[in-house]
Amino acid sequence: MNKIILIIKREYLSRVRKKSFIVMTILGPILMAALMMTPLLMDNSDTEERSVWICDESGLFISQFEKAEDINTTFFIEPLVEVKALFNQSNAFALVHIPSSTDSTISLLENSINVFAHKPISIANRRLISRNVESVIESIKLKNEGLTRDIIEKTRVDINLNTIILGESGLEKSGSTEIALGLSMAGGFLIYIFIFLYGAMVMRGVMEEKTSRIVEIIISSVKPFQLMMGKIIGVALVGFTQFALWILLTFVLSTVATTLLVNPADINPADIANGTELILQDVDIPQNGIASILAQLQSINISFLLGMFLFYFVGGYLMYGSLFAAVGAAVDSETDSQQFMMPITIPLIFSIIALQTILENPDSSLAFWCSIIPFTSPIIMMGRLPFDPPLWEIGLSMVLLIIGFIFTSWIAGRIYRIGILMYGQKVTYKTLWKWIKQS
């Protein structure tokens, strides 16, 4: 037991002290932030005022066109040919041509508006123009029918469905599909990333021991299985450390960034409210905002979910980790590892793809089987958990994951103990099978 702790300590320290670990830990959140910020920044850099000319032959639009941000509109009532000639010499951004029409022929406009430009126009700008034109046409049409925009606004309804799930004991629980969806996706995805990132690290570690020829020295002191498990656990701790540091750094970075970059005077309560509303609309969350999210979060048993997440996180990693170790032991170089990586990565990739389908229908038989079979259960069951699958299914899935973990470690251990001492041999699935059978 003492020796396995020694191994864990070495595996952990030798990785955590590496420059690449420190660099990745610091760079990770920065890269993430950059990845998310770049599109925003690029978009913002595009804020110069653009002049858009509108050739409104009938003069119907001039009075109702809303002034749009960043766009400087100029109206013309001259015929298109003349305006176009002027436009060609100007550096105006776009020329919108609205052919003349009367109230009765206004419907015809829908397909006859052209935009002339020197350069292709972005989708956002097109939408801006078309939204404006549409709303003017809409208003004109409404007026023709004897309605005003105010009446329409007043009659608008927005329904917010509260799902309430009736438990067998008559217990009522408010369902929380959106938050649940977010949580389960995030949980499943984290497990997926973790297994891939650190499973590969285990594999490379085993290969390093094999190619540097230190392995025979070590297994004359400890059992191969101890060495393998020590490495898997050590790398897991490296992963936890890195994740924890990433979360911490991201938190620190975002705090620093907001205090430094956002001028307090700019923070306008109304803006913030609008902002949240916008975000909420994007993810399809009811309009009454944060209060509702909090209510929903309370309805989910967070500590249960967190506990389960840890279980599937660790269980899934351990199960796949030993397989990665076995692959590392069987091959001499990273290039040879590809053929054996396939059967390991396929169930993982399958899980993450199946997760999307399963979330739409969390009680399907695909969902059931995928959350029971240990190869897919860490990701899929994690995704299903917020939808309250039956307890016996959770129990079965957990037991099977433990059995699966013991089984893969046993198989991997048998491949590992022989593989690490085999040099320069072409290993096929047939040889692996022989190693497993050999006493």
């Binding site: 020694l6 070495r10 390093e208 230190i214 025979e216 070590i218 004359s220 006493s439």
Partner: protein
Amino acid sequence: MKVLEVQSVSKTYIHHKALDNISLSVQEGQIFGLLGPNGAGKTSLIRIINQITIPDEGRVLFNGEPLNHNHIGQIGYLPEERGLYKKMKVGEQALYLAQLKGLSEKEAKKALRSWFERFDINTWWDKKVEELSKGMAQKIQFITTVLHQPKLLIFDEPFSGFDPINANIIKDEILQLKENGTSIIFSTHRMESVEELCDHIALIDKSKKILDGPINEIKDKYKQQIYKVDFSSSKLGFLDRLPEHLKLVQQNAHKAEIQILNDSSATDLIRFLLDHSDIKGFEEKIPTVNEIFIRTVQGN
């Protein structure tokens, strides 16, 4: 006293039998040469002694007890395929390996310091292994093998990678260890070092033991009654007409090697030779381990 006793050990892998009913024993303070051609089964046997694999049949006793995990700290093993973690610092790595053998950190540090002092390599402590030359790394490996003062040491090709000067240093260290009562199993293809170091040899070929005994007895046994004679004249025409019980093995200028084919004595041979010529030198030809190796393996 027997430190190690291998009793009728057999081991079969999928394709072949690696060891077939091998028995041998190593005495305290003995250097035991484990010889054999490539693929004979030496490494399989060594791995069984190190508990890396277990035998299919037979058993191994260490100090009279069946081999178990408590013995790991009393065995030191320098494998033929050996290396170190390249990115780790020398001192740290040596400490780690020593602790895996059961030394405490303090004991290990103390022992390491004295070995580093002895080899005058104190400056290597904080170097990374990848900065060392092959010979330097081999030295570190030697130290980590013997550091925990094991009762039994197993060296598989310990001199590979060393220049002659360093090989000599290591050889002296091995002799010193033997002096201190350590038993050593020594596996190599360099027969001249077997000749120099070993007290006892065993030869394994095609997974069977074909020879086992003290090196002097084996040499005696393999003597073929061949005598090297140095004549003072070069008129050696009589050698072509030797009597039937004598055979001319080799001849050049003044010298000849003559084999006695029946059980007549060397004195008879000298008498016969003196009748025909004058003799400057006369000595029995002792077979080298190299010759014994080749003869037995080819005859097997």
